[in-house]
Symmetry: C2
Subunit: 395 residues, 2 copies
């Protein structure tokens, strides 16, 4: 067994011809009987057919899901009633092959929005995916779910819970249309720990709020975002929502997977952590972080390695904080104090700023000095290649 495998989980990969010819684009994740699954879905009002079907199946099977069915190349979003039928047809077909109920299958799709999903291509490729189900197929599966991503995102962590070890492995995909809201891009996480449904739901929700919900590439929330956490229980290690070692490891792994998405962001040349501290609430800090992260002017300055802190300051000023005392705000980039008291720091030199901005990993620290809360948002710059990728995608 590979070091990323999870007892009770097998993955099968096939080529349905949805993305391009001769490329993996279909993944089946088989979960052992008794496995509990929690899931979070996009908050976009236009929810893709697979999101609607997965949510319904999850409520029918009460967390006792047996199969995840993931395709790339087509999002099956904006496809109306026909899309629901196509998603159900794929679930039916794989349920038959694996001898489980249709409602024990959760479908996930990613790719172009608005094109009808060709369910026949998927059902034709399913037997091949079922045939190659293997516990050590995570790497191949992580590659198969990609769209404009340039590399697979796969992470594993071993957790010591009171002297006994369990494992968490997860894979994610996403490079554009990244601004999750309660849910996120596609991410599938599994553990061999034994966790009751209510604890599983809580653990996923909490870890998601500090990981996938803290990243943004372009501020666009997808119609298909989903993240799942499946617990097979086969390690015999019992965990609940109050097990700190497990909760911490899960957050760490999900933050890594989320940061992997940002680092692989469309056209990204910088990885930027925006750390906002001294806010009255965590939400207020997130709001400031997001406003900076979404500013095209900040993002183009980051691309140019230009210490144009005035654009950061302008973004803070329009973030909607009431009664912000601008004189209290300070800005640091990679440790260099750039602005304080609403103006350039007296100690600051342009040379310092240029050196700080030249790094490919940037930490922008904004101190609001009006409270104790803090939050970090991870994002990228806005480059020619972002425009190129998104102007040419679909053509």
């Amino acid at each position: 067994m590979m070091s990323d495998s999870i007892a009770g989980i097998r993955l099968g990969v096939a080529q349905a011809g949805l993305k391009v010819a001769d490329q993996d684009d279909l993944v089946v994740v088989e979960l052992a009987s008794g496995t509990r699954t929690a899931a979070l879905f996009t908050q976009n009002t236009f929810r893709a057919a697979p999101v609607l079907v997965a949510e319904r199946h999850l409520s029918l099977n009460q967390g006792l899901t047996r199969l995840l069915l993931i395709n790339t190349g087509n999002a099956n979003a904006g496809t109306g009633a026909m899309g629901i039928t196509a998603a159900e047809k794929c679930c039916d077909a794989v349920a038959d092959l694996a001898s489980v109920n249709c409602s024990e299958v959760l479908p996930f799709s990613t790719g172009v929005i608005g094109e009808p999903l060709d369910a026949d291509r998927i059902t034709a490729a399913l037997p091949s995916a079922i045939q190659n189900l293997e516990a050590d197929n995570w790497q191949r599966a992580a590659a198969a779910i990609l769209t404009t991503d340039t590399r697979p995102k796969l992470r594993t962590i071993d957790v010591d819970v009171d002297g006994r070890v369990c494992r968490i492995t997860g894979m994610s995909k996403g490079a554009g249309m990244i601004c999750p809201n309660l849910a996120t891009m596609l991410a599938f996480i599994a553990t061999d720990a034994e966790i009751e449904q209510s604890s599983l739901d809580k653990l996923l929700r909490r870890a998601n709020s500090v990981s996938f919900n803290r990243i943004t590439v372009d501020g666009d929330t997808s119609t298909n975002d989903a993240v799942t956490l499946s617990a097979t229980g086969l390690s015999g290690v019992r965990v609940d929502s109050e097990t700190p070692a497990f909760a911490e490891a899960l957050s760490t792994l999900m933050i890594e997977l989320a940061q992997d998405i940002v680092r692989d962001g469309e056209g990204a040349t910088k990885f930027v952590a925006i750390c906002v501290s001294g806010g009255e609430t965590q939400e207020a800090c997130e709001q400031v972080g997001r406003t900076i992260a979404h500013s095209p002017l900040v993002k183009t300055a980051l691309f140019a390695s230009d210490p144009n802190w005035g654009r950061i300051l302008a973004a803070i000023g329009r973030a909607g904080l009431s009664d912000l005392i601008t004189d209290d705000v300070s800005i640091r980039v990679n440790g260099v104090l750039i602005a304080e008291r609403g103006a350039r720091a007296s100690s600051y030199t342009e040379a310092q700023g240029q050196t700080a901005m030249a790094a490919s990993d940037l930490k922008i620290e904004v101190a609001l000095n009006r409270g104790q809360a803090e939050a970090t948002i991870w994002t990228t710059d806005l480059s020619y290649d972002y425009v190129k990728i998104n102007a040419e995608y679909r053509t």
Copy 2:
């Protein structure tokens, strides 16, 4: 007299060397005694020094402003207490030259944020600006206030009020950092109508809400946004806030000036009107329009002339409307029905979509079918040149 001149208004232009050598960058607008001025300023919390000073002076002179002093090349924003001193020094100097009170001067600045303003350069150039005060200097003044703009924005309209004619002339500047909130980029509008202060304030506020507040290039609200409306009264035509012909003409002129800014948006290759109808409130329609207008994925698709309506649909879905019934939503581009009932319209062909998107002027119509309200937002695409301009500005 040129046809854009306003009785009681003279404009002087000079070169202070703030932008580049040998280029106009300083404008003085002289308002005849008795002229009433209304103004709106940026809602960004980080308000530039000239905004703070102009607001204070306006409250001191109670609308009886005598001079507008405008410089480009430096925004005097993020400059702290030093910036206030510099703005006051410039006001003092021009007040002395024109024999008015310092509080009768409103200063306006645009350009780089965070660099100290060299007040001495401005005071040195002021005598030259005062010397060439002319009523027919609007065109030269409109060119002098530009930054990354490629062309001046100057509009004139004659208004028939019950058989008597008055005139409105306005100039605006702005090409990036464009997402006004109650106020806008720099715009200076003047009329020879006679209008009391409270009517003047109302007229400006109303016309602004359907013009400058409806445009966005990049979602970034500037620290320096300002729009003024000055009424000299010298035509003898009396107007109040309920004079429909005048209010309509003012809205028309301000919409033209606002659209001129969008058409000259940084790197813009498309002029896009996003018309959202069938909302419960005008605010809800604006919110949907803005979310579409700010989506980098929509904007790059517009740049590529790609009828990728799935991105428009995804933007509508994350615009925050509660209980949106996605099946009720339809999308048209330049008259072509693209999507309805949450999916591609059955009548739609890709060829139709491509023809519609190829135009440089686009009208995207979104029908929400949940109410009677409507609103239009004007915006641009996101091109390589937007990135280029903003990655290279300041270097």
